[in-house]
Symmetry: C2
Subunit: 326 residues, 2 copies
DNA sequence: TTGTAGGCGTTATCAT
DNA sequence: ATGATAACGCCTACAA
């Protein structure tokens, strides 16, 4: 069934049917209705392929599905993808997946997706300093949004992010309110935007409460074993912390093992609110992933539909999910 | 850039370029090479839209992304999706995502995807008795594979599954080898194919060892709290089990809480090897999700490329990942 | 083995 | 406001 079938059924020309679909306002009300009825009666759907060939637009957006790294943090992508697909559907776009094991291959994937499938836009996750992917896309005028700030230049392109500093700040505030003074922090080595941001939130919250954060934090790679080691290290100091905020649930889980037998118990707060946190009762900072995904689609469609060139970035607030550990 | 650009560049007709792409064997070696070089030099890629319009095939397969249910089991989808996308790419197919909150909407989604995007095939996850989705697709001659057996008729359509009974059987065997005799089972209410299968594996393993499984199992909905309750129930019997096999990591986590202070410790085995299991050291049955995804693509492309009408189903073996709890 | 002609379903342009 | 015509890039049939 084609647009011609509908045209015959409604006794109009093909062009009029096309107009009803793409520019309803220029068709006379009565004609419009007749065509709409024919469309409904026939169950007609425009062929994307034909439309795409004519317009050069595919109504497709792409997002990379990463190999689950450490398993614990991997499950955030799940929720993000679902939100993305759902919101995109509502906006008339479909979501396409691609994989890439490194940045060079990812750029090759863009090239393929763009030239073969005419992709309309990309959603990138996890940007870092001097990310070559954003430069490549921007150079070619391809529409894209990142979930994660461009740490070099906040104006570079549309982005959505969660305010990590506010998250760790909130966690620290909660611990302060519970009477803790010596509150530690377990985070990643300096240099990663996300990690530095989360550390800064903790540091500023302590300073605002008149507490010197010096010596209360540790830098380590992500992982359960690493978290345990760093926490033991922290506990072995002259003035060990009575509570600790962590940059990830993995680190928090390790910390939890290190403080297992401590009395009075040492409070632990994680980050990401992964299923693992829920399972073991770990208090954790939760990112609004569904919202974040939805706003990514909003920004991308804003660019694609030409509403504006560079829509304003979106910074979402995380929340603290209280459980047993803090 | 079109096929004509390449043709000019290689000083052949458009048709010859097309032949090099779609039927290389009928082009003279020398000509073929010249065309290949032109393609590479120009970075030419055939437009899927145009190709699709002519051939009616999109080289697109679709898979549903579900809202993360209980968080713990949700993360399996992640790994499956990655494997699927990767294998599909290698076979020249792209993966498209869709959402649906219930079966009726899912069928509506098929309709849309099929008529608007000309989807080549679907991968369904989690089939159940009398699944209307498979009937709908089969009726219309749409290619699809399910990850999960058709419990009514194993010949109904191509499928890939993991042998759940073998998994629980293996777990039970491991516990028997460790000297356990009274081995319990925590599973879901009878009626779900997957649940019944997992229970049967445990039951048969016990019977084969000359042990009567009567009274050693419990039926409950999935969940941590439910697992804990059922385990307590089992421990309160006259002859409580010294070990337990569970139908999911959620149930196992609950069981773990119920047996926390038991001495001698009660062994616990979960199912799915989720990140949570890894985090808490839970021994669990692991499904080869990457393999399963790859075989799904194999079966689907076999149908699409017309190699055979109904390729033989694939039953994969799970493995037992040993950790602290058993 | 290579070239020519036509059409897939849609939308843009232009005429009515 | 509506209709006729052409073109998007490709592949299949057929002719050379």
């Amino acid at each position: 069934m084609t647009i011609a079938t509908v045209a015959r059924h409604a006794r109009v020309s093909r062009q009029t049917v096309s107009n009803v679909l793409n520019a309803p306002h220029i068709v006379r009300e009565e004609t419009r209705q007749r065509v709409q009825e024919a469309i409904a009666a026939l169950g007609y759907r425009a062929s994307q392929a034909a439309r795409q060939m004519r317009t050069g637009r595919s109504r497709l957006i792409a997002v990379r599905i990463e190999p689950t790294r450490d398993g614990i943090n991997g499950s955030v992508l799940d929720r993000f993808l679902h939100g993305l697909t759902e919101t995109a559907e509502a906006a008339g776009y479909r979501t396409m997946l691609y994989t890439a094991s490194d940045t060079a291959r990812e750029i090759a994937a863009y090239d393929d997706l763009l030239s073969a499938y005419d992709l309309d836009g990309f959603v990138l996750t996890g940007t870092h300093h001097g990310d070559p992917r954003t430069a490549w896309l921007a150079e070619r005028g391809v529409a894209f949004v990142t979930f994660g700030r461009p740490w070099d230049d906040p104006e570079a392109h549309p982005w959505v992010d969660v305010d990590g500093a506010a998250g760790t700040g909130r966690a620290t505030g909660h611990l302060l309110a519970r009477g803790h003074r010596r509150i530690g922090f377990l985070g990643w080595p300096a240099g990663s935007g996300v990690g530095d941001d989360r550390r800064a939130g903790w540091r500023e919250a302590l300073r605002a409460a008149g507490i010197d954060p010096t010596g209360l934090d540790r830098e380590t790679e992500d992982g359960i074993a690493e978290g345990e080691r760093s926490m033991r290290d922290l506990l072995a100091t002259d003035a060990p912390p009575t509570a600790v905020v962590c940059a990830s649930d993995s680190l928090a889980l390790g910390a939890l093992q290190a403080v297992r037998a401590a009395d009075p118990p040492v409070a632990v707060v994680g980050f990401d609110d992964t299923p693992v946190a829920a399972a073991v009762g770990l208090t954790s900072v939760s990112q609004p992933l569904g919202d974040a995904a939805a706003r990514c689609v909003d920004l991308l469609t804003a660019v694609l539909d030409g509403d504006q060139q560079t829509p304003a970035p979106v910074l979402l607030q995380p929340s603290l999910v209280l459980r047993h550990t803090a």
